[in-house]
Symmetry: C2
């Protein structure tokens, strides 16, 4: 288990001829609502060490304020000050947490409060400019103007490596702000515990409430140079009787604890002196963190660690070797690929121990345990992408989900889980889709029978989110449970996925039960208006109803126009419900061309103008499959033009390059699939719906040693229409590819043209 | 490790001919300030399951209120209501904590608040009467009048076993109050976590702040009968986003968390139905608690567990088989012996794992880990008593203290530690006395060289409580650190103990260094007034000074009259300082006969009128050696009469039978030693100063198979003077016994008489 990074390094010489990391622009998505972070991380790293420019956010009267949303990743490109560098970040989520253990180097008078964006001089934060900022995979560098300090950082899987270049100063400080956090309302910090083990080693933990209800992260922090003195301030009234009359616990007292604590370490520095910090995390204990620290970075060689970690990226990025039409597209592609590889994140010590959702310590036997499962997002394209380019890791993620199931007092697979907590965000039980997709595609490095049992048990947990009603009546009644239509539709899809898995495993009973449940989407369709519509428990449809309005209409983060199309597993029946091919075509055309006034979505954070085409919302997930639906009604050229339009207009290589939250890689996974020319409309099926490739060529290096090569002949910005497809030299007439065909090695040639090829 | 209780059971047939537990009155000390608890426990048990009658206590403006002191054990005999039964209690301390996991059975309308003593009907608490109360070792029974429920409880080492006999009721409840605690001010509870694993099993933890700064106790709770429904109320504003729109988390939702939580479990009961609960604790995890539960009580046989646990008491109590003059004395003796065996308590799971003071999990290899070291009290007589009757356990306690040292970020042995926390209560570093006493007496089932290193390192921790000044100048200056004289005197004694250990181990360097430090008591003596007196850093004695006043005079919990005599390790030099034998005799006589007006101690909780004889304070520890000092000036008969007077007047078998806090067994250990006829004036010496036995006869069964037999010929209430002593049939002329003589088996005969025998 030790130094896991060594193994992939052996592969470097096979794929990493190209310097792929040059194409990755981690600042992409940091402006507006992409919610990505620009800092340093290795693929799937537990430590994601990144600057926080602000973390405003507070709960008020049971509602959280807008800043919580804006600062999901802790960084906003427009900001002009950096508060410091913290070690954990979500990539692209729509809700905030983490931001553990903020470190900030300062000079001059010690200031322990962070100050404000308007008046950084009143605190420890610093002004900076993008001109002095470098963001690369596994490397981030910035000049902190107010302190005249250059900050650099890289990471391994579990250790952040800081390198601060100081000016000459007899008043240099490293601040460790343990009360800092992302979404840091009053009461978020439950307990902080810190030990100054000696003059170069500090350990401790931070326990928080909130999105992760009972969440603790442990750390070990090593300095390259002994501090001369240290201390802390406590900002709460928690009692410590111990020091009465005995100690000054604020200064040079090696044990700190309380709800809100900021610690500092003092140094004298000479001009350009580098002070380095290794900061290891553990889900288990400070002992585990120290073990991780020693195992992953045994020395103080910053350059070596940086180079090795960047090589890790070259290895992973090099698995998909593409040529694009433009530099911009190259950067957009590899930045997207980079964003798909930031999560889920490793959640165990080097010895395989981790904290389970039962808050007990478990041993991961034979797999890497992962956390941060944003499943409502990532089941759609991210996990299917992993089934192609990261099958081993995807198998381990499923084993992690099954461990979660084993440890769950609800006997459920994760819904949205992070750091040994279920936060229940969004809807559905989409773990089952991830597991079914892997099973159906034959990527089964886990106990599939147990996987099926976990899926079935999860799908029958009565008290979960309207499920009891759904099982009784075939739909979630809106008067019993809000967002009822979205739930009915997504449950129906998930049930279909379970059925597919059961079929593959030969379990006819489960197949029969769940294939029947998968038809429940019909129950939410109101034929009188031709839309999905919330139904009441008495069987009538809700009276007041808008098909355009996003909120309060029986859907979640989507309106009926978009959500009505959420029957990815039975498009032919959906087409029938809508009224046949023609009406369906008209529906889709309208969706992409009609005007959706702001008033229908402006109050919903997850839907922004930038992410919208007509009434089609690409900046959020529920419609990600929609552009591909033309394939089912004999109009593949419309899919092709829509896909290329989205690839061109909704993604870019600039800070504002994401048109919505990246959502732990789902937005980016859509890009990768679509740029390669196909998309998994219904995970749990072994088919990929064909779109229009953006690549000029691609070679996908599979873990099984095979390759998928893709060539787009006559590829130009305007030649968006597929004229012919050759699969392994033979004409391929279907509008889908089959997973097994690809994975056994495939050579795909798309012949592109400027005009639709209608059959 | 499993079922540790089985091993001692084998010995039952050797010693346990007598039913010793009939003499134990656990209610002794529950009235006024004894601070003992009446509930159920096995010897040194981790679970001490006892009724709490009130737990009022709150911190206000940095001062804690009187109730904190009054309710150290959770129970006051005068109270007329019982709040419930909690699982952890200190025995006889002067400060409060614990009271974890209160259980209360109720009938009728569910009430989740405890109500008040004046209006128990407004809450779940109940009236009770002592007439319906039975308190025995390992068994407690009471009728809860308001609910018509009979409560019974017994325990094993780590599991509390409750048995509640209900009336017929379709509204019966078991309340699990997780916010209840002893010394339970606002903010005490840091976090509560509960899982309802199934309809008969609940797990979780309680994390608290306060005396134990970072303290967590885990539990597993099994019911003999499935509950029909359950729920909880949360009394804080901690956020749980998870349930928004999804669940009613208050009812039948199996995961509860927050800062302040009360849970309940509902039943229907028939007349006289017994509902039983097994409640296991762990310092490690809920998994550990469950493991403890299954290992220690595999079935539901309450009577068997009660009988086996009471047999454990018979075994331990039977190690000292005495005959006394009266039934009252028999009960006082065995109740005292019982109180000496309630702590320190086992602090590890059945598999040997425990939480260290570094908050990491450690494995106790080859020893039982203990916690709750009230060392300022217990070094005096309790640990010396253990070196005779519990040498193996005392060795394990020392190994536990050495593990604490290894894990301490201060590199110090415990001062006053409990539950993986150092609470720093009181003064000195008396761990060194405990270790030295064991080394000098040859009870060394630990690494003695390492023990010495730990003692030396502890005794040189500069930032600890004036130690830097003490090491520099030979005393603690009062202007630098308050209670300076007490500290100087106790450090000097501790240093002498280190020197004795070093001598025994052949470490001349350490011996020389610490025997020199042991003379520092001289520096606190003011010859101009003949008392110990606070000295300032400029070398002058403090001007305003009272030898009678307890507070603010340079002493802690004692006045100069008492504390001046605290040179147990060099009484001859103390006698010289006072002015020779005559003046010393006069000093002692005066101490026991003068009047100490209330005003000089009334504001000090730890000193009460009941515990005072003249100006001699027996109800608190600093003078416990004083009655024996007459032996050094050739007036042993005065020691004899004083000791008998104290045994007669300061101890009894009634609820008000303790004249001060039992202090984790120290008060009781004084009784046991003195009743047997000798006392360890200076632990770290192998000598016991001879007093006047209260027993008629005693047989002490040693772990090495030998016995010490004691016979007091002509023993009567008035024959308090020792006329002659025979040791193994030969006249013994010394006024001390030597440890090795006793431990190799000894027959002691005291010939008693009504008149002093002056030599």
């Amino acid at each position: 288990m030790k130094r896991l990074f060594l193994f992939p390094l052996l592969s470097v010489f096979i794929f990493a001829q190209t310097n792929y990391i040059q194409y990755v622009k981690p600042l992409t998505g940091t402006q507006r609502m992409g919610h990505t972070f620009p800092g340093a991380a290795v693929p799937f790293g537990a430590v994601q060490l990144s600057p926080d420019t602000d973390t405003l956010g507070y709960e008020k009267n049971g509602k959280y304020q807008a800043e919580v949303y804006q600062y999901c990743s802790g960084y906003q490109y427009e900001d002009r000050t950096i508060v410091g560098f913290s070690h954990t970040h979500f990539s692209g989520t729509g809700h905030s947490d983490l931001g553990d253990f903020l470190i900030m180097p300062t000079t001059g008078t010690l200031q322990l409060n962070p100050g404000t964006a308007d008046h950084p001089e009143n605190g420890y934060r610093s002004r900076y400019s993008h001109a002095n900022e470098t963001a690369e995979p596994a490397y981030y560098k910035v000049k902190l103007d107010d302190h005249n300090i250059t900050a650099e950082m890289t990471t391994t899987t579990r250790v952040g490596f800081h390198q601060y270049t100081f000016p000459q100063s007899d008043s240099a400080h490293i601040i460790l702000d343990l009360m800092h956090g992302i979404y840091n309302y009053d009461g978020k910090n439950v307990w902080i515990f810190v030990r100054v083990e000696n003059d170069t080693l500090v350990t401790g933990f931070r326990q928080t409430n909130g999105w992760g209800r009972t969440r603790t992260v442990y750390f070990a922090m090593a300095f390259s140079k002994p501090f001369t003195s240290y201390g802390h301030a406590k900002y709460d009234t928690s009692i410590y009787r111990g020091f009465w009359k005995k100690f000054d616990v604020r200064t040079n007292f090696p044990e700190m604890a309380g709800k809100n604590i900021r610690a500092y370490f003092n140094f004298s520095t000479y001009e350009n002196e580098k002070i380095k910090i290794k900061f290891a995390l553990s889900p288990v204990s400070t002992e585990g963190a120290l073990q991780n620290l020693v195992a992953e970075i045994p020395d103080w060689n910053f350059e070596r660690v940086k180079n090795e970690s960047q090589q890790l990226w070259n290895v992973e990025l090099g698995k998909v070797n593409v040529e694009m039409l433009t530099q911009k597209d190259m950067e957009t592609f590899y930045t997207s690929l980079y964003h798909t590889l930031l999560g889920p994140t490793v959640y165990m010590d080097v010895d395989g121990r981790y904290k389970g959702i039962d808050q007990n310590i478990h041993q991961a036997d034979g797999f890497v345990n992962y956390t941060t499962f944003s499943l409502w997002d990532t089941y759609r394209a991210l996990h299917p992408l992993f089934n192609i380019i990261q099958p081993k890791r995807n198998g381990d993620m499923i084993r992690s989900m099954l461990a979660h199931y084993d440890q769950s007092v609800h006997h459920m697979l994760p819904v949205w889980s992070h750091y040994a907590n279920e936060n229940w965000c969004m809807i559905g039980y989409h773990s089952v889709s991830v597991i079914a997709d892997a099973v159906v595609k034959g990527n089964i490095p886990f106990d599939a029978v147990k996987g099926l049992e976990a899926c079935v048990t999860t799908a029958k947990q009565k008290y979960y989110d309207g499920l009891e009603y759904y099982m009784q009546t075939g739909y979630v009644p809106e008067d019993k449970n809000s967002s009822s239509v979205s739930k009915t539709l997504e449950y129906a899809y998930d049930d279909w996925a379970i059925a597919q898995m059961a079929k593959k495993l030969g379990n006819e009973k489960v197949y029969a039960e769940f294939i029947k449940r998968s038809e429940n989407f019909n129950n939410a369709f109101d034929p009188s208006i031709g839309f999905m519509r919330p139904k009441m428990s008495d069987g009538t449809f809700r009276k007041n109803f808008s098909t355009l309005e996003t909120d309060g209409q029986g859907f979640i983060e989507g309106n009926s126009w978009n959500y009505t199309l959420y029957v990815p597993h039975n498009v032919p029946q959906l087409v029938q419900l809508i009224g046949g091919n023609k009406r369906f075509s008209y529906y889709l055309d309208s969706l992409f061309t009609m005007h959706l006034p702001d008033e229908f979505f402006a109050h919903n954070e997850d839907i922004t103008r930038e992410g919208i085409i007509g009434n089609y919302v690409h900046g959020n997930e529920p419609s990600h499959h929609v552009p591909y639906l033309y394939n089912w009604i004999g109009e593949p050229w419309k899919t092709q033009e829509k896909v290329r339009m989205i690839l061109d207009t909704k993604y870019s290589n600039t800070p504002d390059g994401l048109s919505g939250n990246d959502d732990c890689g789902q937005m980016s996974a859509w890009y990768i699939f679509s740029a390669l020319g196909f998309y998994p409309v219904a995970p749990g099926s072994d088919r990929y719906s064909i779109g229009s490739p953006l690549v000029r060529s691609a070679v996908i290096h599979l873990e099984n040693g095979k390759t998928i090569s893709i060539e787009a002949k006559n590829q130009t910005a305007k030649n968006v229409y597929v004229q012919n497809i050759l699969l392994n030299g033979k004409v391929w007439k279907e509008n889908y590819f089959i997973h097994s065909n690809l994975m056994s090695g495939a050579a795909i040639v798309f012949e592109m043209g400027a005009k639709p090829k209608k059959r």
